[in-house]
Symmetry: C2
Subunit: 302 residues, 2 copies
Amino acid sequence: MLTLSEAVRPVTFIESVKLREHLGLDVVVATETFQHTGSFKFRAAYNLASNVPNDEILSASSGNFGQALAYACRLVGKRCTVVMPETSAKVKIDAVRDFGATVDLIDTNVIGRNERVAQLAAEMPDAYFASAYDNEYVIAGNATLGDELATGDFDAVVTPVGGGGLISGLATGLRRSGSNAEMYGAEPELANDASRSFKVGSIIPNEVEPMTIADGARTISLGNLNWPIIREHVSGFIEVPEADIRNAVKLFFSLVNLKSEPTGALSLAAVAADTDKWKGKRLCVVVSGGNVDPGIYKDLIG
Amino acid sequence: MLTLSEAVRPVTFIESVKLREHLGLDVVVATETFQHTGSFKFRAAYNLASNVPNDEILSASSGNFGQALAYACRLVGKRCTVVMPETSAKVKIDAVRDFGATVDLIDTNVIGRNERVAQLAAEMPDAYFASAYDNEYVIAGNATLGDELATGDFDAVVTPVGGGGLISGLATGLRRSGSNAEMYGAEPELANDASRSFKVGSIIPNEVEPMTIADGARTISLGNLNWPIIREHVSGFIEVPEADIRNAVKLFFSLVNLKSEPTGALSLAAVAADTDKWKGKRLCVVVSGGNVDPGIYKDLIG
Protein backbone atom coordinates (compact mmCIF):
# COMPACT_ATOMS: atom_id res chain seq x y z
CA MET A 1 0.00 0.00 0.00
CA LEU A 2 1.31 3.45 -0.92
CA THR A 3 2.13 5.91 1.85
CA LEU A 4 0.22 9.19 1.86
CA SER A 5 3.10 11.13 0.33
CA GLU A 6 3.53 8.50 -2.39
CA ALA A 7 -0.19 8.46 -3.18
CA VAL A 8 -0.74 12.22 -3.36
CA ARG A 9 0.04 14.31 -6.45
CA PRO A 10 2.02 17.45 -5.56
CA VAL A 11 0.11 20.72 -5.90
CA THR A 12 0.55 22.62 -9.18
CA PHE A 13 1.84 26.17 -8.86
CA ILE A 14 1.04 28.59 -11.69
CA GLU A 15 2.40 32.12 -12.03
CA SER A 16 0.31 33.66 -14.78
CA VAL A 17 1.63 36.99 -16.02
CA LYS A 18 -1.86 37.85 -17.32
CA LEU A 19 -3.45 37.30 -13.91
CA ARG A 20 -0.65 39.11 -12.09
CA GLU A 21 -0.98 42.14 -14.35
CA HIS A 22 -4.77 42.07 -14.27
CA LEU A 23 -4.75 42.18 -10.47
CA GLY A 24 -1.53 44.16 -10.07
CA LEU A 25 -0.47 41.65 -7.43
CA ASP A 26 2.39 39.24 -6.75
CA VAL A 27 0.03 36.29 -6.85
CA VAL A 28 0.71 32.58 -7.33
CA VAL A 29 -2.08 30.09 -8.02
CA ALA A 30 -1.80 26.76 -6.17
CA THR A 31 -4.25 24.42 -7.83
CA GLU A 32 -5.50 21.04 -6.70
CA THR A 33 -7.65 20.59 -9.80
CA PHE A 34 -5.17 17.95 -11.05
CA GLN A 35 -5.01 16.12 -7.73
CA HIS A 36 -6.33 12.56 -8.03
CA THR A 37 -10.12 12.73 -8.47
CA GLY A 38 -9.84 16.45 -9.24
CA SER A 39 -9.73 18.09 -5.82
CA PHE A 40 -7.63 18.41 -2.64
CA LYS A 41 -10.06 15.99 -0.94
CA PHE A 42 -8.02 13.00 -2.08
CA ARG A 43 -5.32 13.93 0.43
CA ALA A 44 -7.79 13.60 3.31
CA ALA A 45 -9.59 10.59 1.89
CA TYR A 46 -6.46 8.56 1.29
CA ASN A 47 -5.07 9.35 4.72
CA LEU A 48 -8.34 8.25 6.27
CA ALA A 49 -8.95 5.14 4.19
CA SER A 50 -5.41 3.89 4.65
CA ASN A 51 -5.37 4.45 8.42
CA VAL A 52 -8.72 3.47 9.92
CA PRO A 53 -8.96 -0.22 10.86
CA ASN A 54 -12.51 -0.66 9.49
CA ASP A 55 -13.16 -2.39 6.17
CA GLU A 56 -16.17 -0.20 5.36
CA ILE A 57 -16.38 3.57 5.35
CA LEU A 58 -19.52 5.72 5.40
CA SER A 59 -19.60 9.41 4.61
CA ALA A 60 -21.75 12.31 3.46
CA SER A 61 -20.45 14.64 0.78
CA SER A 62 -21.67 17.12 -1.80
CA GLY A 63 -19.35 15.32 -4.11
CA ASN A 64 -15.61 15.92 -4.09
CA PHE A 65 -14.98 14.15 -0.81
CA GLY A 66 -17.28 11.40 -2.00
CA GLN A 67 -15.32 10.63 -5.15
CA ALA A 68 -12.00 11.05 -3.37
CA LEU A 69 -13.09 8.60 -0.69
CA ALA A 70 -14.51 6.19 -3.25
CA TYR A 71 -11.20 6.15 -5.14
CA ALA A 72 -9.10 5.96 -1.97
CA CYS A 73 -11.18 3.02 -0.71
CA ARG A 74 -10.71 1.26 -4.02
CA LEU A 75 -6.95 1.79 -3.80
CA VAL A 76 -6.76 0.29 -0.31
CA GLY A 77 -9.42 -2.39 -0.90
CA LYS A 78 -12.26 -1.12 1.34
CA ARG A 79 -16.00 -0.72 0.83
CA CYS A 80 -17.50 2.76 0.73
CA THR A 81 -20.97 4.33 0.99
CA VAL A 82 -21.52 8.03 0.29
CA VAL A 83 -24.66 10.02 1.18
CA MET A 84 -25.12 12.80 -1.39
CA PRO A 85 -27.77 15.51 -1.85
CA GLU A 86 -29.61 14.90 -5.10
CA THR A 87 -28.72 18.50 -6.03
CA SER A 88 -25.01 17.62 -6.20
CA ALA A 89 -23.22 18.17 -9.49
CA LYS A 90 -24.01 15.24 -11.76
CA VAL A 91 -20.35 14.71 -12.67
CA LYS A 92 -19.59 14.23 -9.00
CA ILE A 93 -22.37 11.69 -8.41
CA ASP A 94 -21.32 9.74 -11.49
CA ALA A 95 -17.68 9.76 -10.46
CA VAL A 96 -18.44 8.34 -6.99
CA ARG A 97 -20.31 5.47 -8.61
CA ASP A 98 -17.60 4.95 -11.23
CA PHE A 99 -15.01 4.51 -8.49
CA GLY A 100 -17.07 1.66 -7.10
CA ALA A 101 -18.77 3.24 -4.10
CA THR A 102 -22.45 3.00 -3.18
CA VAL A 103 -24.23 6.35 -3.57
CA ASP A 104 -27.17 7.13 -1.28
CA LEU A 105 -29.02 10.11 -2.79
CA ILE A 106 -31.19 12.23 -0.48
CA ASP A 107 -33.58 15.12 -0.82
CA THR A 108 -32.22 17.53 1.78
CA ASN A 109 -35.66 19.14 2.10
CA VAL A 110 -36.94 15.82 3.41
CA ILE A 111 -34.04 14.48 5.47
CA GLY A 112 -30.78 16.06 6.64
CA ARG A 113 -27.45 14.53 5.78
CA ASN A 114 -26.64 13.85 9.40
CA GLU A 115 -29.99 12.20 9.98
CA ARG A 116 -29.56 9.91 6.97
CA VAL A 117 -26.00 9.09 7.99
CA ALA A 118 -27.26 8.13 11.45
CA GLN A 119 -29.82 5.78 9.85
CA LEU A 120 -27.16 4.15 7.70
CA ALA A 121 -24.66 3.93 10.57
CA ALA A 122 -27.24 1.96 12.52
CA GLU A 123 -27.57 -0.42 9.57
CA MET A 124 -23.79 -0.75 9.18
CA PRO A 125 -22.39 -1.10 12.71
CA ASP A 126 -18.89 -2.04 11.51
CA ALA A 127 -18.50 0.97 9.23
CA TYR A 128 -16.29 3.95 10.09
CA PHE A 129 -18.17 7.22 9.71
CA ALA A 130 -15.97 9.85 8.09
CA SER A 131 -16.89 13.50 8.22
CA ALA A 132 -15.62 15.28 5.10
CA TYR A 133 -13.99 17.93 7.31
CA ASP A 134 -14.47 17.33 11.06
CA ASN A 135 -12.04 14.46 11.39
CA GLU A 136 -8.44 14.14 12.53
CA TYR A 137 -7.39 12.03 9.53
CA VAL A 138 -8.95 14.57 7.19
CA ILE A 139 -7.10 17.47 8.76
CA ALA A 140 -3.83 15.53 8.76
CA GLY A 141 -4.29 14.57 5.12
CA ASN A 142 -4.98 18.14 4.08
CA ALA A 143 -1.96 19.27 6.09
CA THR A 144 0.25 17.78 3.37
CA LEU A 145 -0.94 20.61 1.11
CA GLY A 146 0.17 23.08 3.77
CA ASP A 147 3.61 21.44 3.81
CA GLU A 148 3.83 21.95 0.05
CA LEU A 149 2.66 25.58 0.19
CA ALA A 150 5.32 26.29 2.83
CA THR A 151 7.95 25.86 0.09
CA GLY A 152 6.50 28.91 -1.70
CA ASP A 153 7.57 31.46 0.91
CA PHE A 154 4.20 33.24 0.85
CA ASP A 155 3.20 36.21 3.01
CA ALA A 156 -0.47 35.31 2.75
CA VAL A 157 -2.54 32.29 1.68
CA VAL A 158 -6.20 32.61 0.69
CA THR A 159 -8.27 29.46 0.48
CA PRO A 160 -11.90 28.42 -0.06
CA VAL A 161 -13.82 27.47 3.09
CA GLY A 162 -16.74 25.11 3.52
CA GLY A 163 -16.61 23.02 6.69
CA GLY A 164 -13.09 24.15 7.52
CA GLY A 165 -11.21 20.95 6.74
CA LEU A 166 -8.97 22.54 4.14
CA ILE A 167 -8.07 25.72 5.99
CA SER A 168 -7.38 23.89 9.26
CA GLY A 169 -5.26 21.33 7.44
CA LEU A 170 -3.38 24.06 5.59
CA ALA A 171 -2.70 25.88 8.85
CA THR A 172 -1.42 22.67 10.43
CA GLY A 173 0.91 21.96 7.52
CA LEU A 174 2.12 25.52 7.01
CA ARG A 175 2.96 26.07 10.67
CA ARG A 176 4.72 22.74 11.22
CA SER A 177 6.74 23.43 8.06
CA GLY A 178 7.87 26.78 9.40
CA SER A 179 5.62 29.16 7.46
CA ASN A 180 4.09 32.14 9.23
CA ALA A 181 2.01 33.14 6.21
CA GLU A 182 -1.20 34.96 7.11
CA MET A 183 -4.19 32.75 6.37
CA TYR A 184 -7.54 33.91 5.01
CA GLY A 185 -10.66 31.94 4.27
CA ALA A 186 -13.00 32.80 1.38
CA GLU A 187 -16.60 31.68 1.64
CA PRO A 188 -19.83 32.49 -0.20
CA GLU A 189 -21.80 35.42 1.21
CA LEU A 190 -24.80 33.04 1.06
CA ALA A 191 -22.93 30.60 3.33
CA ASN A 192 -21.11 32.98 5.65
CA ASP A 193 -21.15 30.89 8.82
CA ALA A 194 -17.36 30.85 9.15
CA SER A 195 -17.18 34.61 8.94
CA ARG A 196 -19.97 35.02 11.50
CA SER A 197 -18.46 32.39 13.77
CA PHE A 198 -15.05 34.03 13.61
CA LYS A 199 -16.46 37.44 14.58
CA VAL A 200 -18.46 36.06 17.48
CA GLY A 201 -15.82 33.63 18.70
CA SER A 202 -17.92 30.47 18.64
CA ILE A 203 -19.31 28.17 15.97
CA ILE A 204 -22.53 29.53 14.46
CA PRO A 205 -24.27 27.30 11.91
CA ASN A 206 -26.15 28.32 8.79
CA GLU A 207 -29.92 28.09 9.27
CA VAL A 208 -30.37 25.90 6.20
CA GLU A 209 -28.07 24.33 3.62
CA PRO A 210 -27.09 27.42 1.61
CA MET A 211 -27.82 27.18 -2.12
CA THR A 212 -24.67 28.93 -3.33
CA ILE A 213 -23.23 28.01 -6.72
CA ALA A 214 -20.11 27.01 -4.78
CA ASP A 215 -21.49 23.56 -4.02
CA GLY A 216 -18.43 22.53 -2.02
CA ALA A 217 -19.30 25.22 0.53
CA ARG A 218 -22.90 24.14 1.13
CA THR A 219 -22.06 23.08 4.67
CA ILE A 220 -24.09 23.86 7.75
CA SER A 221 -21.19 24.80 10.00
CA LEU A 222 -17.48 24.56 10.72
CA GLY A 223 -16.34 21.34 12.36
CA ASN A 224 -15.50 21.07 16.05
CA LEU A 225 -11.98 19.80 15.35
CA ASN A 226 -11.36 22.51 12.75
CA TRP A 227 -12.53 25.37 14.92
CA PRO A 228 -9.68 25.70 17.46
CA ILE A 229 -7.10 25.49 14.66
CA ILE A 230 -8.96 28.20 12.74
CA ARG A 231 -9.21 30.47 15.78
CA GLU A 232 -5.50 30.15 16.43
CA HIS A 233 -4.13 30.56 12.92
CA VAL A 234 -6.61 32.30 10.61
CA SER A 235 -6.43 36.08 10.21
CA GLY A 236 -9.87 36.56 8.74
CA PHE A 237 -12.69 35.46 6.44
CA ILE A 238 -13.90 37.16 3.29
CA GLU A 239 -17.53 36.86 2.17
CA VAL A 240 -17.90 36.50 -1.58
CA PRO A 241 -21.07 37.46 -3.52
CA GLU A 242 -22.28 34.91 -6.07
CA ALA A 243 -21.51 37.23 -9.00
CA ASP A 244 -17.88 37.47 -7.90
CA ILE A 245 -17.58 33.67 -7.73
CA ARG A 246 -18.83 33.46 -11.29
CA ASN A 247 -16.45 36.14 -12.44
CA ALA A 248 -13.48 34.43 -10.79
CA VAL A 249 -14.21 31.19 -12.67
CA LYS A 250 -14.15 33.25 -15.86
CA LEU A 251 -10.89 34.98 -14.88
CA PHE A 252 -9.24 31.60 -14.34
CA PHE A 253 -10.48 30.50 -17.74
CA SER A 254 -9.34 33.61 -19.58
CA LEU A 255 -6.12 34.55 -17.82
CA VAL A 256 -4.75 31.29 -16.41
CA ASN A 257 -6.13 28.60 -18.78
CA LEU A 258 -7.40 26.99 -15.59
CA LYS A 259 -10.68 25.11 -15.29
CA SER A 260 -11.89 25.73 -11.76
CA GLU A 261 -15.15 24.73 -10.16
CA PRO A 262 -17.06 27.59 -8.49
CA THR A 263 -15.94 26.57 -4.98
CA GLY A 264 -12.33 26.50 -6.16
CA ALA A 265 -12.56 30.07 -7.41
CA LEU A 266 -13.70 31.53 -4.05
CA SER A 267 -10.11 32.46 -3.18
CA LEU A 268 -9.48 34.41 -6.37
CA ALA A 269 -12.87 36.10 -6.03
CA ALA A 270 -11.96 37.23 -2.52
CA VAL A 271 -8.64 38.65 -3.69
CA ALA A 272 -10.02 40.34 -6.80
CA ALA A 273 -12.72 42.12 -4.79
CA ASP A 274 -10.19 44.20 -2.86
CA THR A 275 -6.73 44.18 -4.44
CA ASP A 276 -5.45 47.00 -2.19
CA LYS A 277 -5.55 44.63 0.76
CA TRP A 278 -2.86 42.44 -0.81
CA LYS A 279 -0.44 44.98 -2.28
CA GLY A 280 3.19 44.28 -1.47
CA LYS A 281 2.49 40.74 -0.33
CA ARG A 282 3.57 37.51 -1.96
CA LEU A 283 0.17 35.93 -2.20
CA CYS A 284 -1.03 32.38 -2.79
CA VAL A 285 -4.59 31.64 -3.92
CA VAL A 286 -5.56 28.02 -3.41
CA VAL A 287 -7.88 26.41 -5.95
CA SER A 288 -9.49 23.51 -4.15
CA GLY A 289 -10.95 21.60 -7.11
CA GLY A 290 -12.04 21.59 -10.73
CA ASN A 291 -15.02 19.26 -10.99
CA VAL A 292 -17.96 21.10 -12.51
CA ASP A 293 -20.77 20.08 -14.85
CA PRO A 294 -20.20 21.33 -18.42
CA GLY A 295 -23.68 22.91 -18.45
CA ILE A 296 -22.86 25.06 -15.43
CA TYR A 297 -19.39 25.86 -16.69
CA LYS A 298 -20.65 27.03 -20.09
CA ASP A 299 -22.92 29.46 -18.33
CA LEU A 300 -20.06 30.74 -16.16
CA ILE A 301 -17.62 31.55 -18.96
CA GLY A 302 -20.25 32.97 -21.32
CA MET B 1 18.47 38.82 -18.68
CA LEU B 2 17.16 35.37 -17.76
CA THR B 3 18.62 32.33 -19.48
CA LEU B 4 16.20 30.17 -21.45
CA SER B 5 15.98 27.53 -18.74
CA GLU B 6 15.35 30.22 -16.11
CA ALA B 7 12.67 31.91 -18.22
CA VAL B 8 10.70 28.80 -19.17
CA ARG B 9 8.09 27.19 -16.92
CA PRO B 10 8.59 23.40 -16.69
CA VAL B 11 5.93 21.31 -18.42
CA THR B 12 3.08 20.03 -16.23
CA PHE B 13 2.62 16.27 -16.17
CA ILE B 14 -0.85 14.94 -15.28
CA GLU B 15 -1.74 11.30 -14.72
CA SER B 16 -5.52 11.27 -14.64
CA VAL B 17 -7.00 7.99 -13.48
CA LYS B 18 -10.26 8.87 -15.24
CA LEU B 19 -8.53 9.37 -18.56
CA ARG B 20 -6.35 6.29 -18.13
CA GLU B 21 -9.38 4.13 -17.40
CA HIS B 22 -11.46 5.70 -20.15
CA LEU B 23 -8.77 4.90 -22.73
CA GLY B 24 -7.45 1.74 -21.07
CA LEU B 25 -3.94 3.08 -21.64
CA ASP B 26 -0.85 3.95 -19.61
CA VAL B 27 -1.08 7.57 -20.67
CA VAL B 28 0.46 10.71 -19.19
CA VAL B 29 -0.61 14.19 -20.26
CA ALA B 30 2.21 16.73 -20.70
CA THR B 31 0.56 20.11 -20.89
CA GLU B 32 2.02 23.44 -21.93
CA THR B 33 -1.24 25.29 -21.28
CA PHE B 34 0.36 26.87 -18.19
CA GLN B 35 3.55 27.84 -19.98
CA HIS B 36 4.04 31.60 -20.06
CA THR B 37 1.48 33.08 -22.49
CA GLY B 38 -0.41 29.78 -22.47
CA SER B 39 1.43 27.64 -25.00
CA PHE B 40 4.77 25.93 -25.72
CA LYS B 41 5.58 28.75 -28.15
CA PHE B 42 7.13 30.82 -25.38
CA ARG B 43 10.10 28.43 -25.34
CA ALA B 44 10.87 29.21 -28.97
CA ALA B 45 10.05 32.88 -28.72
CA TYR B 46 12.23 33.54 -25.72
CA ASN B 47 15.15 31.64 -27.20
CA LEU B 48 14.84 33.67 -30.38
CA ALA B 49 14.24 37.08 -28.83
CA SER B 50 17.12 36.68 -26.39
CA ASN B 51 19.61 35.47 -29.01
CA VAL B 52 19.17 37.42 -32.25
CA PRO B 53 21.18 40.68 -32.36
CA ASN B 54 18.35 42.76 -33.89
CA ASP B 55 16.31 45.18 -31.78
CA GLU B 56 13.13 44.60 -33.77
CA ILE B 57 11.47 41.29 -34.62
CA LEU B 58 8.83 40.62 -37.27
CA SER B 59 6.73 37.50 -37.48
CA ALA B 60 3.51 35.98 -38.77
CA SER B 61 1.39 33.86 -36.46
CA SER B 62 -2.14 32.61 -36.05
CA GLY B 63 -1.74 33.73 -32.50
CA ASN B 64 0.18 31.66 -29.97
CA PHE B 65 3.61 32.39 -31.40
CA GLY B 66 2.55 35.99 -31.72
CA GLN B 67 1.73 36.47 -28.07
CA ALA B 68 4.73 34.41 -26.98
CA LEU B 69 7.02 36.56 -29.12
CA ALA B 70 5.35 39.75 -27.95
CA TYR B 71 5.91 38.80 -24.31
CA ALA B 72 9.45 37.52 -24.92
CA CYS B 73 10.35 40.77 -26.71
CA ARG B 74 8.97 42.77 -23.81
CA LEU B 75 11.05 40.72 -21.38
CA VAL B 76 14.26 41.36 -23.34
CA GLY B 77 13.41 44.95 -24.33
CA LYS B 78 12.86 44.56 -28.08
CA ARG B 79 10.20 45.81 -30.49
CA CYS B 80 7.85 43.32 -32.13
CA THR B 81 5.42 43.26 -35.06
CA VAL B 82 3.11 40.30 -35.67
CA VAL B 83 1.14 39.63 -38.86
CA MET B 84 -2.08 37.80 -37.97
CA PRO B 85 -5.01 36.53 -40.03
CA GLU B 86 -8.15 38.42 -39.03
CA THR B 87 -9.74 34.99 -38.44
CA SER B 88 -7.39 34.30 -35.52
CA ALA B 89 -8.94 33.68 -32.12
CA LYS B 90 -9.84 37.04 -30.62
CA VAL B 91 -8.17 36.22 -27.31
CA LYS B 92 -4.91 35.67 -29.16
CA ILE B 93 -5.07 38.95 -31.06
CA ASP B 94 -5.87 40.85 -27.87
CA ALA B 95 -3.05 39.17 -25.99
CA VAL B 96 -0.44 40.11 -28.60
CA ARG B 97 -1.51 43.72 -28.31
CA ASP B 98 -1.62 43.60 -24.52
CA PHE B 99 2.00 42.43 -24.45
CA GLY B 100 2.96 45.57 -26.34
CA ALA B 101 3.49 44.29 -29.86
CA THR B 102 2.14 45.82 -33.06
CA VAL B 103 -0.52 43.62 -34.69
CA ASP B 104 -0.87 43.67 -38.47
CA LEU B 105 -4.22 42.04 -39.30
CA ILE B 106 -4.67 40.58 -42.79
CA ASP B 107 -7.47 39.03 -44.80
CA THR B 108 -5.79 35.86 -46.05
CA ASN B 109 -8.20 35.74 -48.99
CA VAL B 110 -6.66 39.00 -50.19
CA ILE B 111 -2.99 38.66 -49.25
CA GLY B 112 -0.93 35.71 -48.04
CA ARG B 113 1.01 35.87 -44.80
CA ASN B 114 4.33 35.50 -46.57
CA GLU B 115 3.48 38.25 -49.03
CA ARG B 116 2.51 40.66 -46.27
CA VAL B 117 5.61 39.76 -44.28
CA ALA B 118 7.75 40.51 -47.36
CA GLN B 119 6.09 43.95 -47.65
CA LEU B 120 6.75 44.71 -43.99
CA ALA B 121 10.31 43.37 -44.12
CA ALA B 122 11.03 45.84 -46.92
CA GLU B 123 9.70 48.64 -44.72
CA MET B 124 11.72 47.47 -41.70
CA PRO B 125 15.17 46.55 -43.03
CA ASP B 126 16.70 46.19 -39.56
CA ALA B 127 14.08 43.78 -38.28
CA TYR B 128 14.74 40.06 -37.84
CA PHE B 129 12.07 37.95 -39.52
CA ALA B 130 11.12 35.00 -37.33
CA SER B 131 9.21 32.07 -38.75
CA ALA B 132 7.00 30.54 -36.07
CA TYR B 133 8.43 27.10 -36.90
CA ASP B 134 11.05 27.14 -39.66
CA ASN B 135 13.87 28.67 -37.63
CA GLU B 136 16.87 27.27 -35.75
CA TYR B 137 16.19 29.30 -32.59
CA VAL B 138 12.60 28.10 -32.60
CA ILE B 139 13.59 24.45 -32.87
CA ALA B 140 16.25 24.86 -30.18
CA GLY B 141 13.77 26.59 -27.88
CA ASN B 142 11.19 23.85 -28.34
CA ALA B 143 13.91 21.25 -27.74
CA THR B 144 13.82 22.19 -24.04
CA LEU B 145 10.39 20.55 -23.89
CA GLY B 146 11.93 17.39 -25.35
CA ASP B 147 14.58 17.46 -22.62
CA GLU B 148 11.82 17.60 -20.02
CA LEU B 149 9.78 14.80 -21.60
CA ALA B 150 12.89 12.61 -21.63
CA THR B 151 12.63 12.43 -17.82
CA GLY B 152 9.29 10.62 -18.21
CA ASP B 153 10.73 7.41 -19.67
CA PHE B 154 8.03 7.20 -22.36
CA ASP B 155 7.78 4.56 -25.08
CA ALA B 156 5.87 6.90 -27.36
CA VAL B 157 5.16 10.63 -27.56
CA VAL B 158 2.21 12.01 -29.55
CA THR B 159 2.16 15.71 -30.32
CA PRO B 160 0.12 18.21 -32.34
CA VAL B 161 1.65 19.25 -35.67
CA GLY B 162 1.26 22.47 -37.62
CA GLY B 163 4.43 23.72 -39.30
CA GLY B 164 6.57 21.12 -37.54
CA GLY B 165 8.40 23.37 -35.09
CA LEU B 166 7.17 21.52 -32.02
CA ILE B 167 7.73 17.97 -33.21
CA SER B 168 11.19 18.73 -34.60
CA GLY B 169 12.13 20.50 -31.39
CA LEU B 170 10.79 17.63 -29.31
CA ALA B 171 12.77 15.13 -31.35
CA THR B 172 15.93 17.18 -30.92
CA GLY B 173 15.47 17.41 -27.16
CA LEU B 174 14.36 13.83 -26.61
CA ARG B 175 17.24 12.33 -28.58
CA ARG B 176 19.98 14.50 -27.09
CA SER B 177 18.59 13.64 -23.64
CA GLY B 178 18.85 9.94 -24.36
CA SER B 179 15.21 9.08 -25.09
CA ASN B 180 14.39 6.69 -27.92
CA ALA B 181 10.63 7.20 -27.54
CA GLU B 182 8.71 6.71 -30.77
CA MET B 183 7.37 10.03 -31.99
CA TYR B 184 4.00 10.59 -33.67
CA GLY B 185 2.49 13.76 -35.04
CA ALA B 186 -1.25 14.46 -34.90
CA GLU B 187 -2.68 16.89 -37.44
CA PRO B 188 -6.17 17.80 -38.64
CA GLU B 189 -7.47 15.72 -41.54
CA LEU B 190 -8.32 19.08 -43.13
CA ALA B 191 -4.65 20.10 -42.90
CA ASN B 192 -2.92 16.80 -43.60
CA ASP B 193 0.16 18.11 -45.40
CA ALA B 194 2.59 16.55 -42.92
CA SER B 195 1.02 13.15 -43.34
CA ARG B 196 1.08 13.43 -47.13
CA SER B 197 4.63 14.77 -47.11
CA PHE B 198 5.81 11.95 -44.87
CA LYS B 199 4.31 9.29 -47.14
CA VAL B 200 5.79 10.80 -50.29
CA GLY B 201 9.17 11.69 -48.79
CA SER B 202 9.19 15.37 -49.66
CA ILE B 203 7.43 18.50 -48.43
CA ILE B 204 3.95 18.85 -49.93
CA PRO B 205 2.03 22.02 -49.05
CA ASN B 206 -1.69 22.44 -48.49
CA GLU B 207 -3.42 24.08 -51.45
CA VAL B 208 -4.98 26.78 -49.29
CA GLU B 209 -4.86 27.73 -45.62
CA PRO B 210 -6.98 24.93 -44.12
CA MET B 211 -9.97 26.14 -42.07
CA THR B 212 -9.73 23.51 -39.33
CA ILE B 213 -10.95 24.37 -35.84
CA ALA B 214 -7.38 23.66 -34.75
CA ASP B 215 -6.24 27.17 -35.60
CA GLY B 216 -2.64 26.50 -34.59
CA ALA B 217 -2.41 23.96 -37.43
CA ARG B 218 -3.61 26.29 -40.20
CA THR B 219 -0.17 26.23 -41.79
CA ILE B 220 0.56 25.81 -45.48
CA SER B 221 3.44 23.37 -45.11
CA LEU B 222 6.18 21.94 -42.91
CA GLY B 223 9.31 24.06 -42.61
CA ASN B 224 12.54 23.29 -44.46
CA LEU B 225 14.57 23.13 -41.24
CA ASN B 226 11.96 20.93 -39.54
CA TRP B 227 11.68 18.45 -42.36
CA PRO B 228 15.00 16.54 -42.11
CA ILE B 229 14.55 16.19 -38.34
CA ILE B 230 11.03 14.87 -38.86
CA ARG B 231 12.15 12.38 -41.52
CA GLU B 232 14.86 11.05 -39.25
CA HIS B 233 12.98 10.77 -35.97
CA VAL B 234 9.21 10.65 -36.51
CA SER B 235 7.49 7.25 -36.80
CA GLY B 236 4.28 8.48 -38.35
CA PHE B 237 1.47 11.02 -38.59
CA ILE B 238 -2.17 10.58 -37.63
CA GLU B 239 -4.92 12.50 -39.41
CA VAL B 240 -7.67 13.67 -37.06
CA PRO B 241 -11.25 14.45 -38.19
CA GLU B 242 -12.73 17.69 -36.86
CA ALA B 243 -15.32 15.85 -34.75
CA ASP B 244 -12.54 13.97 -32.96
CA ILE B 245 -10.72 17.21 -32.17
CA ARG B 246 -13.89 18.56 -30.60
CA ASN B 247 -14.43 15.40 -28.63
CA ALA B 248 -10.86 15.44 -27.31
CA VAL B 249 -11.32 18.99 -25.97
CA LYS B 250 -14.39 17.68 -24.15
CA LEU B 251 -12.53 14.64 -22.79
CA PHE B 252 -9.82 16.89 -21.38
CA PHE B 253 -12.53 19.02 -19.75
CA SER B 254 -14.44 16.11 -18.27
CA LEU B 255 -11.73 13.64 -17.34
CA VAL B 256 -8.62 15.75 -16.70
CA ASN B 257 -10.01 19.15 -15.60
CA LEU B 258 -7.81 20.52 -18.36
CA LYS B 259 -8.71 23.48 -20.55
CA SER B 260 -7.12 22.76 -23.92
CA GLU B 261 -7.45 24.67 -27.15
CA PRO B 262 -8.51 22.57 -30.16
CA THR B 263 -4.96 22.40 -31.55
CA GLY B 264 -3.70 21.22 -28.18
CA ALA B 265 -6.17 18.33 -28.14
CA LEU B 266 -5.01 16.87 -31.49
CA SER B 267 -2.71 14.43 -29.70
CA LEU B 268 -5.42 13.02 -27.44
CA ALA B 269 -7.79 12.81 -30.39
CA ALA B 270 -5.23 10.78 -32.34
CA VAL B 271 -4.73 8.38 -29.44
CA ALA B 272 -8.44 8.00 -28.62
CA ALA B 273 -9.26 7.13 -32.23
CA ASP B 274 -7.27 3.88 -32.12
CA THR B 275 -6.41 2.79 -28.59
CA ASP B 276 -5.21 -0.66 -29.71
CA LYS B 277 -2.21 0.96 -31.35
CA TRP B 278 -0.91 2.13 -27.96
CA LYS B 279 -1.59 -0.87 -25.71
CA GLY B 280 1.36 -1.87 -23.56
CA LYS B 281 3.19 1.39 -24.15
CA ARG B 282 3.94 4.14 -21.68
CA LEU B 283 2.47 6.98 -23.66
CA CYS B 284 2.80 10.76 -23.47
CA VAL B 285 0.25 13.06 -25.09
CA VAL B 286 1.52 16.60 -25.48
CA VAL B 287 -0.97 19.46 -25.11
CA SER B 288 0.56 22.39 -26.95
CA GLY B 289 -1.61 25.21 -25.65
CA GLY B 290 -4.81 26.33 -23.97
CA ASN B 291 -5.76 29.69 -25.49
CA VAL B 292 -9.27 29.50 -26.88
CA ASP B 293 -12.14 31.98 -27.13
CA PRO B 294 -14.86 31.28 -24.55
CA GLY B 295 -17.52 31.28 -27.28
CA ILE B 296 -15.76 28.46 -29.13
CA TYR B 297 -15.00 26.58 -25.95
CA LYS B 298 -18.62 26.67 -24.77
CA ASP B 299 -19.64 25.07 -28.01
CA LEU B 300 -16.97 22.38 -27.69
CA ILE B 301 -17.89 21.18 -24.19
CA GLY B 302 -21.66 21.41 -24.74
